[in-house]
Amino acid sequence: MVKVIGMDTTQGLAHQTDEDLMRRYRDTGDEKVYNELVHRYERELYRYLARYTGDPSTAEDVFQNTFLQIHLKRGLYEDDRPFRPWLYAIATHQAVDALRKAGRRPTVSLDQKLSPSQGESDAGSLLDMLVNDDTGPLADLQEQERREWVRESVEKLPDALRQTLILAYHQDLKYREIAGILKIPVGTVKSRLHAALAKLQQMAKVAQRDGKED
């Protein structure tokens, strides 16, 4: 068998897809391949976990546990399975477990039914709601003030909506990838995202009205 020279160097590994690396790690247990995966997802996955858990030290613990699970369950990795949704699914489960243990957030079923008030309205009315308001209820706030408001409001969203919003908006994942991570249909991902936005818009209006009344 001819060994391809340079394949094991850091540069060589950097050119390989996540799926190739994971398959290779599963088959050979090569430490260098595992290192490459950890480094490749260090920034992206940490960002997701920090935002989702809302606590840097919890995010760090969950990050480490996620890659420990990847190491332990490498035998279960299936060929041609996209690596990123698999990693995010494991990370999300670990994060939910960590939050549950810490008891900091009420846990909400991923398949919870959303009430109409939570935004099961169609995209047209959501778009109208977002765009037709000339300046937007938040436009008048100072940037720092607005960011603070967003952080607090996103924290208040039900878990299922918050998860979807973070994955779609902040992590730039596609509907289909999110559907794979959360194990729900693509249509549900979309309706959860719309519901999250509608809920935030509703909260913004309430905040604006309360501000004016004060």
Partner: protein, 322 residues
């Protein structure tokens, strides 16, 4: 671009060919581009918290060290292949389980079917018994041919019952157990006399019409020396109708039962209207063989206590052996 698509485009959710088309549409239509821009701005105002989460220094290295130090707690699942390849051995195991199940189930199904068919045969004989009882209320005895038709075949007791209007449905003449009887021609059976004429003119058509599964007791030799039918006495227990006798080759052997139930035994309709199942041809202490008379011949009985169920093609008063 509809609202749904515009929102997905602003959220960066459109897949490649459609995304490029939307970008092109925005280049050509400044109003659309402004609307997209406005939507993005509205989304950013709502969802962008401006937080820049950076991993703490050395997170990756600490993670690698953590994994290296962790005990290798393998579960049984780690050794399970992700996708089990097709193997003939697995197929053979599945097939053998299926066959074993089938073999276990088949006898039970078979027994259930046999019981059902047995019950069907009893029901048929009860129906025939009912017809005979009605016939006996109109006549002094069970069906028997007029003296000038004494050579008519005993199977024509059915035609006599139909002539009397007491057997409307001939389907009761088919024993469901063997499933061999085709009563299509029997349904067109004309009167006793016409049927007997048909026997002489067209034996093949006659054989097709008279094809049922039950034999009849035409009577016995009376004290006068003449053959005559059995009297209709409901209190007595005389076999009147039964499953058809075995074929010629087996008839002489007392161990061979009616072929209707594959040799397991025969149902016998008695003059009291009851139907009894016999595993042998013995039907009474004075009658050792229900299919032969006490002279071991296939002829009417020698006396009142000697009952003989004749095949349908044997004449009522014939003394010739088959």
């Amino acid at each position: 671009m509809n609202s749904d698509e515009l929102l997905d485009f602003a959220l960066g959710q459109l897949e490649d060919p459609r995304r490029r088309a939307c970008e092109e549409a925005c280049r050509c239509d400044p109003d659309l581009a402004a609307r997209v821009q406005k939507t993005r701005r509205a989304l950013d105002l709502l969802a962008d918290d401006g937080a820049m989460f950076s991993p703490p220094p050395g997170l990756a290295n600490r993670t690698l060290a953590f994994v290296a130090q962790s005990p290798s707690t393998h579960s049984i699942l780690d050794y399970v292949p992700a996708r089990v390849p097709f193997r003939w051995a697995d197929f053979a195991v599945a097939a053998s389980i299926f066959i074993a199940g089938l073999l276990t189930l088949m006898p039970a199904v078979q027994r259930s079917r046999e019981r059902m068919n047995q019950a069907g045969c009893v029901f048929n004989l009860q129906q025939i018994g009912s017809s005979l009882a009605q016939y006996a209320t109109l006549h002094p005895s069970y069906p028997a041919p007029p003296s000038h038709r004494a050579d008519a075949q005993s199977g024509l007791f059915v035609a006599l019952l139909r002539d009397a209007g007491v057997l409307p449905d001939v389907s009761v003449l088919d024993c469901p157990y063997n499933g061999k009887c085709d009563l299509q021609h029997a349904r067109g059976l004309a009167s006793f006399e016409k049927a007997d004429d048909l026997r002489k003119t067209d034996p093949a058509a006659y054989a097709k019409a008279v094809c049922w599964d039950y034999g009849y007791n035409p009577g016995y030799r009376h004290a006068s020396g003449q053959y005559g039918p059995i009297d209709a006495r409901p209190a007595s227990m005389i076999p009147v109708v039964a499953d058809q006798p075995p074929d010629d080759a087996l008839l002489g052997d007392v161990d061979h039962n009616s072929p209707n139930h594959y040799g397991a035994g025969q149902n016998v309709l008695y003059s009291d209207g009851a139907v009894r199942w016999h595993r042998s041809r013995l039907v009474g202490p004075h009658d050792h063989d229900v299919f032969l008379n006490n002279n071991r011949k296939m002829e009417p009985g020698l006396d009142e206590r000697d009952s003989v169920i004749l095949p349908r093609e044997v004449p009522f008063n014939n003394s010739e052996a088959r």
